[in-house]
Homo-oligomer: 207 residues x 2
Amino acid sequence: MARPRSFDRDHVLHAAERQFRASGYNGTSVDDISAATGLGRGSLYGAFDGKHGVLLEAMAGYFGRLAQGPRKMLDGPDEGALERLHAYLLRAVHGVPLAPDVAPASDRAGAACFAAKMALEVGASDPEVKRLANDCFSVVRAAVAECVRAAQRNGDLDPDADPDDLAYLLLTVIRGSDVVGAYGHSPDRLTSIAESAFALLPRPRHT
Amino acid sequence: MARPRSFDRDHVLHAAERQFRASGYNGTSVDDISAATGLGRGSLYGAFDGKHGVLLEAMAGYFGRLAQGPRKMLDGPDEGALERLHAYLLRAVHGVPLAPDVAPASDRAGAACFAAKMALEVGASDPEVKRLANDCFSVVRAAVAECVRAAQRNGDLDPDADPDDLAYLLLTVIRGSDVVGAYGHSPDRLTSIAESAFALLPRPRHT
DNA sequence: ACGCTTCTTGACAAGTCAGTACAGAACTGC
DNA sequence: GCAGTTCTGTACTGACTTGTCAAGAAGCGT
């Protein structure tokens, strides 16, 4: 019937995401997006709905990828749940909350959670961004909480601890490492932060 | 000799900080700063050096205020160090890393650490902002580490734990609560995050 | 009271921004 | 091969941006 699109939508959104990450939302112009994606202005406005539309769709795409990561790494049998949580924590503080098969970003700053970055920059005045970011946080938190519960069932964590509280705390550590880690601290430091957090998780009291 | 300035420099910088907080760096125009501070364009360029200069000085002012808060709350005798740490944590996760005499901000989002916000938005391409933010983090971290050491000396924390590791971890929790707390979570949730973190601090093993 | 220096105000110019419109290209279906 | 539809690229517009400049106001010292 008509001419098909000559670009891959997801690929374009990913390129836009990188650009937003590097320069922030207000720091990137439509021309920047155009250059980063290779698309002309017209195509951008046709396929998405301008700059804001690109952001929302890029965040949605990020959410889609993000949602699978923790589940893949954390879901599973009760045995090994604590080890899975350990492995996930170590990855997540380095800004790689995705599945094990995606390579870590070369620079920690660029790897900071996209949702968190956008939420902090424009979330206060942009309810849609705020909501998308919250979705990102929730999906991670839910997966972590479930993994904590599994570890509790397996007797690896104190059953009296509130798994939701622990999940919130771990999520907070992960988000915090985006900020702390992005600027001035070595990967080793991030690793030791993750190890410290993990080591402090409440073990069952062996009576 | 000459006409003196008709405005209070610190007051202006504080107003600019609020504006930067609300709209981000790239999201606020010089006119916005002008409106927020009441200063005309010319005065802004005369007193500071344009928008970027205002940001740097506002961050420096923030640093100055920030640096005193943790010290005031955390420094002191070894007895009570753990309690001081507890009180500080509770305040800090609510975005009030300042001295006890400054009132908490009404909105958690606006209270997110100014340095962290700016660093995340423009730090990647702005070394000066990056450095200032790191200074802010360091001063808090050093005060926390010292307080941890005091608590260890007093026998309230496990002396085998690395105080610097703990300080990094706590700083990360505080920074993370800027992000987690700013969007969608209640103050109660933040309090419980702080309490969880505090409860997990390694107590001395009573043989 | 006067001159000097600095501050303040408003306006200005050059550049950039987002979004639109239009013309041409490309592909599908027949 | 042709018609129709959609995509693509570019040029354009109006608004907004930053930084500068010059003229007037305000205080200080004498």
